[in-house]
Amino acid sequence: MGAHAPAATGPQHSDPTTHGGTTKLFLTVWVWLLILTGIEVFLAYLRLPPILMLTILVGLSLIKSVLIVAYFMHLRFEKIGMFLTLIPATVFCICVMLLYFFPDSVRLMNMRP
Protein backbone atom coordinates (compact mmCIF):
# COMPACT_ATOMS: atom_id res chain seq x y z
CA MET A 1 0.00 0.00 0.00
CA GLY A 2 1.47 3.33 -0.94
CA ALA A 3 1.50 6.50 1.12
CA HIS A 4 -1.62 7.82 -0.61
CA ALA A 5 -3.71 4.72 -0.20
CA PRO A 6 -6.93 5.14 1.78
CA ALA A 7 -7.17 3.84 5.31
CA ALA A 8 -8.77 0.43 5.67
CA THR A 9 -12.22 0.83 7.14
CA GLY A 10 -15.15 -1.52 7.68
CA PRO A 11 -15.20 -5.26 8.36
CA GLN A 12 -15.89 -6.14 4.76
CA HIS A 13 -12.61 -4.64 3.60
CA SER A 14 -9.92 -7.28 3.40
CA ASP A 15 -6.40 -6.07 4.06
CA PRO A 16 -4.80 -5.35 0.70
CA THR A 17 -1.31 -5.66 2.19
CA THR A 18 -1.81 -9.30 3.14
CA HIS A 19 0.71 -11.20 1.13
CA GLY A 20 3.84 -13.26 1.43
CA GLY A 21 4.42 -16.85 2.31
CA THR A 22 3.81 -19.98 0.34
CA THR A 23 2.71 -23.41 1.57
CA LYS A 24 6.27 -24.63 1.05
CA LEU A 25 7.65 -21.79 3.20
CA PHE A 26 5.15 -22.46 6.00
CA LEU A 27 5.94 -26.19 5.92
CA THR A 28 9.66 -25.41 6.11
CA VAL A 29 9.14 -23.16 9.13
CA TRP A 30 6.99 -25.85 10.78
CA VAL A 31 9.70 -28.49 10.24
CA TRP A 32 12.35 -26.17 11.73
CA LEU A 33 10.13 -25.53 14.74
CA LEU A 34 9.81 -29.29 15.26
CA ILE A 35 13.57 -29.77 14.92
CA LEU A 36 14.27 -27.04 17.50
CA THR A 37 11.71 -28.61 19.85
CA GLY A 38 13.45 -31.98 19.44
CA ILE A 39 16.78 -30.38 20.33
CA GLU A 40 15.21 -28.84 23.44
CA VAL A 41 13.87 -32.21 24.63
CA PHE A 42 17.28 -33.82 24.00
CA LEU A 43 19.06 -31.06 25.96
CA ALA A 44 16.71 -31.53 28.91
CA TYR A 45 18.30 -34.94 29.55
CA LEU A 46 21.84 -33.58 29.69
CA ARG A 47 23.02 -32.85 33.22
CA LEU A 48 23.70 -29.14 32.76
CA PRO A 49 23.63 -26.51 35.54
CA PRO A 50 20.13 -24.95 35.79
CA ILE A 51 21.25 -21.44 34.77
CA LEU A 52 23.05 -22.75 31.67
CA MET A 53 20.12 -25.02 30.81
CA LEU A 54 17.64 -22.15 31.22
CA THR A 55 19.75 -19.85 29.05
CA ILE A 56 20.05 -22.41 26.24
CA LEU A 57 16.38 -23.38 26.34
CA VAL A 58 15.18 -19.76 26.37
CA GLY A 59 17.64 -18.98 23.54
CA LEU A 60 16.19 -21.78 21.41
CA SER A 61 12.66 -20.63 22.30
CA LEU A 62 13.55 -17.12 21.18
CA ILE A 63 14.62 -18.48 17.78
CA LYS A 64 11.32 -20.37 17.57
CA SER A 65 9.34 -17.27 18.51
CA VAL A 66 11.13 -15.21 15.84
CA LEU A 67 10.16 -17.83 13.23
CA ILE A 68 6.53 -17.79 14.40
CA VAL A 69 6.27 -13.99 14.51
CA ALA A 70 8.09 -13.44 11.21
CA TYR A 71 6.39 -16.07 9.08
CA PHE A 72 3.23 -17.41 10.73
CA MET A 73 2.22 -13.96 12.03
CA HIS A 74 3.41 -12.31 8.80
CA LEU A 75 5.41 -9.55 10.52
CA ARG A 76 8.20 -10.24 8.02
CA PHE A 77 5.84 -9.04 5.28
CA GLU A 78 4.49 -5.93 7.03
CA LYS A 79 5.90 -2.42 6.70
CA ILE A 80 9.11 -1.80 8.64
CA GLY A 81 7.34 0.94 10.64
CA MET A 82 4.98 -1.66 12.11
CA PHE A 83 7.94 -3.79 13.24
CA LEU A 84 9.76 -0.77 14.71
CA THR A 85 6.66 0.30 16.62
CA LEU A 86 5.89 -3.09 18.15
CA ILE A 87 9.07 -5.06 18.72
CA PRO A 88 11.82 -2.76 20.14
CA ALA A 89 9.55 -1.42 22.91
CA THR A 90 8.48 -4.95 23.85
CA VAL A 91 12.07 -6.19 23.90
CA PHE A 92 13.09 -3.19 26.00
CA CYS A 93 10.40 -3.92 28.62
CA ILE A 94 11.41 -7.60 28.75
CA CYS A 95 15.09 -6.65 29.15
CA VAL A 96 14.21 -4.37 32.08
CA MET A 97 12.38 -7.26 33.78
CA LEU A 98 15.38 -9.55 33.26
CA LEU A 99 17.76 -6.86 34.51
CA TYR A 100 15.80 -6.59 37.75
CA PHE A 101 15.33 -10.27 38.48
CA PHE A 102 18.10 -12.43 37.05
CA PRO A 103 21.15 -11.07 38.89
CA ASP A 104 19.29 -11.30 42.19
CA SER A 105 18.18 -14.89 41.62
CA VAL A 106 21.80 -15.95 41.04
CA ARG A 107 22.94 -13.95 44.10
CA LEU A 108 20.48 -15.83 46.30
CA MET A 109 21.71 -19.16 44.91
CA ASN A 110 25.34 -18.26 45.60
CA MET A 111 24.58 -17.18 49.17
CA ARG A 112 23.55 -20.72 50.09
CA PRO A 113 26.04 -22.72 52.16
Partner: protein
Protein backbone atom coordinates in the same frame (compact mmCIF):
# COMPACT_ATOMS: atom_id res chain seq x y z
CA UNK B 1 9.38 26.74 2.61
CA UNK B 2 8.83 26.07 -1.03
CA UNK B 3 5.50 24.92 -2.40
CA UNK B 4 6.87 21.47 -3.29
CA UNK B 5 8.29 21.03 0.26
CA UNK B 6 4.94 21.94 1.80
CA UNK B 7 3.19 19.47 -0.50
CA UNK B 8 5.59 16.75 0.62
CA UNK B 9 4.67 17.28 4.28
CA UNK B 10 0.93 17.38 3.65
CA UNK B 11 1.06 14.13 1.67
CA UNK B 12 3.24 12.23 4.14
CA UNK B 13 1.81 9.06 5.70
CA UNK B 14 1.66 10.83 9.08
CA UNK B 15 -0.34 13.87 7.93
CA UNK B 16 -3.67 12.16 8.48
CA UNK B 17 -6.24 10.44 6.32
CA UNK B 18 -4.04 7.44 5.56
CA UNK B 19 -2.86 4.33 7.39
CA UNK B 20 0.88 4.74 8.10
CA UNK B 21 1.33 1.08 8.98
CA UNK B 22 -0.78 0.03 5.98
CA UNK B 23 -2.73 -2.44 8.07
CA UNK B 24 -6.36 -2.85 8.98
CA UNK B 25 -7.26 -1.26 12.33
CA UNK B 26 -8.40 -4.65 13.71
CA UNK B 27 -5.02 -6.11 12.90
CA UNK B 28 -3.17 -3.26 14.61
CA UNK B 29 -5.50 -3.60 17.61
CA UNK B 30 -4.74 -7.32 17.88
CA UNK B 31 -1.00 -6.64 17.65
CA UNK B 32 -1.25 -4.12 20.50
CA UNK B 33 -3.20 -6.65 22.58
CA UNK B 34 -0.52 -9.25 21.83
CA UNK B 35 2.21 -6.87 23.02
CA UNK B 36 0.37 -6.30 26.31
CA UNK B 37 -0.30 -10.04 26.75
CA UNK B 38 3.37 -10.74 25.97
CA UNK B 39 4.34 -8.59 28.93
CA UNK B 40 1.84 -10.42 31.16
CA UNK B 41 3.29 -13.82 30.30
CA UNK B 42 6.85 -12.49 30.43
CA UNK B 43 6.30 -11.20 33.97
CA UNK B 44 4.99 -14.62 35.03
CA UNK B 45 7.81 -16.52 33.32
CA UNK B 46 10.54 -14.20 34.62
CA UNK B 47 9.15 -14.54 38.16
CA UNK B 48 9.13 -18.32 37.66
CA UNK B 49 12.73 -18.28 36.37
CA UNK B 50 13.72 -16.29 39.46
CA UNK B 51 12.32 -18.79 41.96
CA UNK B 52 13.49 -21.73 39.83
CA UNK B 53 17.11 -20.54 39.73
CA UNK B 54 17.19 -19.26 43.30
CA UNK B 55 15.97 -22.59 44.66
CA UNK B 56 18.41 -25.53 44.37
CA UNK B 57 15.75 -27.83 45.93
CA UNK B 58 13.33 -27.23 43.08
CA UNK B 59 11.48 -30.50 42.33
CA UNK B 60 12.21 -32.43 39.14
CA UNK B 61 9.19 -34.75 39.08
CA UNK B 62 8.51 -35.09 35.34
CA UNK B 63 9.25 -38.57 33.98
CA UNK B 64 9.38 -39.34 30.26
CA UNK B 65 5.95 -40.95 30.65
CA UNK B 66 3.48 -39.40 31.06
CA UNK B 67 4.59 -35.78 31.58
CA UNK B 68 7.34 -35.25 29.00
CA UNK B 69 5.71 -37.47 26.35
CA UNK B 70 2.38 -35.69 26.78
CA UNK B 71 3.84 -32.18 26.84
CA UNK B 72 5.98 -32.95 23.77
CA UNK B 73 2.86 -34.23 21.99
CA UNK B 74 1.05 -31.06 23.05
CA UNK B 75 3.87 -29.00 21.53
CA UNK B 76 3.60 -30.94 18.27
CA UNK B 77 -0.17 -30.42 18.31
CA UNK B 78 0.09 -26.65 18.86
CA UNK B 79 2.76 -26.25 16.18
CA UNK B 80 0.56 -28.22 13.77
CA UNK B 81 -2.41 -26.03 14.68
CA UNK B 82 -0.34 -22.97 13.78
CA UNK B 83 0.46 -24.54 10.41
CA UNK B 84 -3.22 -25.22 9.67
CA UNK B 85 -4.09 -21.70 10.88
CA UNK B 86 -1.60 -20.00 8.57
CA UNK B 87 -2.83 -22.17 5.67
CA UNK B 88 -6.39 -21.15 6.59
CA UNK B 89 -5.45 -17.46 6.49
CA UNK B 90 -3.80 -17.96 3.08
CA UNK B 91 -6.94 -19.75 1.82
CA UNK B 92 -9.16 -16.92 3.13
CA UNK B 93 -7.02 -14.30 1.39
CA UNK B 94 -7.28 -16.08 -1.95
CA UNK B 95 -11.06 -16.38 -1.50
CA UNK B 96 -11.22 -20.16 -1.02
CA UNK B 97 -14.01 -20.35 1.56
CA UNK B 98 -14.21 -24.16 1.67
CA UNK B 99 -10.47 -24.58 2.30
CA UNK B 100 -10.55 -21.82 4.94
CA UNK B 101 -13.28 -23.58 6.89
CA UNK B 102 -11.45 -26.91 6.57
CA UNK B 103 -8.21 -25.46 7.98
CA UNK B 104 -10.06 -23.56 10.73
CA UNK B 105 -11.77 -26.86 11.65
CA UNK B 106 -8.39 -28.62 11.91
CA UNK B 107 -7.01 -25.76 14.01
CA UNK B 108 -9.92 -25.99 16.44
CA UNK B 109 -9.52 -29.77 16.57
CA UNK B 110 -5.85 -29.41 17.48
CA UNK B 111 -6.71 -26.75 20.06
CA UNK B 112 -9.31 -29.00 21.69
CA UNK B 113 -6.88 -31.93 21.65
CA UNK B 114 -4.31 -29.74 23.41
CA UNK B 115 -6.78 -28.74 26.13
CA UNK B 116 -7.96 -32.33 26.68
CA UNK B 117 -4.41 -33.72 26.98
CA UNK B 118 -3.50 -30.84 29.28
CA UNK B 119 -6.52 -31.60 31.49
CA UNK B 120 -5.42 -35.25 31.82
CA UNK B 121 -1.97 -33.95 32.80
CA UNK B 122 -3.49 -31.73 35.47
CA UNK B 123 -5.69 -34.62 36.65
CA UNK B 124 -2.62 -36.85 37.13
CA UNK B 125 -0.80 -34.16 39.08
CA UNK B 126 -3.75 -33.17 41.29
CA UNK B 127 -5.35 -36.57 41.96
CA UNK B 128 -2.43 -39.02 41.82
CA UNK B 129 0.57 -36.85 42.75
CA UNK B 130 -1.36 -34.66 45.24
CA UNK B 131 0.03 -31.41 43.80
CA UNK B 132 -1.93 -28.23 44.52
CA UNK B 133 -1.00 -24.54 44.12
CA UNK B 134 -0.21 -24.55 47.86
CA UNK B 135 1.60 -27.84 48.40
CA UNK B 136 3.27 -30.82 46.77
CA UNK B 137 5.02 -33.96 47.99
CA UNK B 138 8.43 -32.85 46.74
CA UNK B 139 9.17 -29.60 48.58
CA UNK B 140 8.77 -25.94 47.60
CA UNK B 141 5.03 -25.12 47.38
CA UNK B 142 5.88 -22.54 44.70
CA UNK B 143 6.32 -25.43 42.26
CA UNK B 144 2.55 -26.00 42.19
CA UNK B 145 1.70 -22.29 42.31
CA UNK B 146 3.90 -21.42 39.32
CA UNK B 147 2.97 -24.56 37.36
CA UNK B 148 -0.80 -24.22 37.71
CA UNK B 149 -0.68 -20.43 37.44
CA UNK B 150 1.25 -20.29 34.18
CA UNK B 151 -0.18 -23.39 32.47
CA UNK B 152 -3.66 -22.43 33.68
CA UNK B 153 -3.46 -18.96 32.15
CA UNK B 154 -2.13 -20.45 28.93
CA UNK B 155 -4.86 -23.12 28.82
CA UNK B 156 -7.45 -20.36 29.32
CA UNK B 157 -5.98 -18.57 26.29
CA UNK B 158 -6.20 -21.76 24.21
CA UNK B 159 -9.81 -22.35 25.27
CA UNK B 160 -10.76 -18.75 24.42
CA UNK B 161 -8.91 -19.19 21.11
CA UNK B 162 -10.99 -22.25 20.18
CA UNK B 163 -14.23 -20.35 20.93
CA UNK B 164 -12.92 -17.31 19.00
CA UNK B 165 -12.06 -19.47 15.97
CA UNK B 166 -15.48 -21.16 16.13
CA UNK B 167 -17.19 -17.73 16.02
CA UNK B 168 -14.94 -16.59 13.15
CA UNK B 169 -15.54 -19.84 11.20
CA UNK B 170 -19.30 -19.50 11.67
CA UNK B 171 -19.25 -15.85 10.58
CA UNK B 172 -16.97 -16.56 7.63
CA UNK B 173 -19.25 -19.37 6.48
CA UNK B 174 -22.26 -17.03 6.70
CA UNK B 175 -20.25 -14.33 4.85
CA UNK B 176 -20.55 -11.99 7.85
CA UNK B 177 -16.77 -11.87 8.33
CA UNK B 178 -14.05 -10.93 5.84
CA UNK B 179 -10.64 -12.56 5.29
CA UNK B 180 -9.08 -9.92 7.56
CA UNK B 181 -11.13 -11.31 10.47
CA UNK B 182 -9.65 -14.76 9.85
CA UNK B 183 -6.18 -13.22 9.73
CA UNK B 184 -6.67 -11.31 13.00
CA UNK B 185 -7.90 -14.48 14.75
CA UNK B 186 -4.82 -16.20 13.31
CA UNK B 187 -2.57 -13.64 15.00
CA UNK B 188 -4.13 -14.50 18.35
CA UNK B 189 -3.79 -18.22 17.72
CA UNK B 190 -0.11 -17.98 16.73
CA UNK B 191 0.55 -15.92 19.84
CA UNK B 192 -0.92 -18.69 22.01
CA UNK B 193 1.40 -21.12 20.21
CA UNK B 194 4.35 -18.77 20.76
CA UNK B 195 3.72 -18.57 24.51
CA UNK B 196 3.77 -22.38 24.76
CA UNK B 197 7.21 -22.35 23.09
CA UNK B 198 8.45 -20.79 26.35
CA UNK B 199 6.14 -22.55 28.82
CA UNK B 200 7.09 -26.05 27.61
CA UNK B 201 10.89 -25.81 28.07
CA UNK B 202 10.78 -23.64 31.18
CA UNK B 203 8.16 -25.52 33.17
CA UNK B 204 8.47 -29.06 31.85
CA UNK B 205 11.98 -29.52 30.48
CA UNK B 206 13.59 -27.66 33.40
CA UNK B 207 11.88 -30.13 35.75
CA UNK B 208 12.72 -33.41 34.02
CA UNK B 209 13.46 -36.28 36.39
CA UNK B 210 17.04 -37.24 35.49
CA UNK B 211 17.01 -40.28 37.77
CA UNK B 212 14.22 -41.99 35.85
Amino acid sequence: MSHSEAEGIVSSPWSGGVAPFAVNSKKLGMWLFIVSDTLTFTALLVAYAYVRLANPDWPRPFEIWPAIAKSSAMTLILLSSSLTMVLGVAAANRGDRKATLKYLGWTMFFGLAFVIIHMTEWYTLIVHEKVTPWSNPWGPPLFGATFFGITGLHMTHVTIGVVYLAIIAWGFKKEKFAPIDVEVSGLYWHFVDLVWMFVFPMLYLMSVNLKG
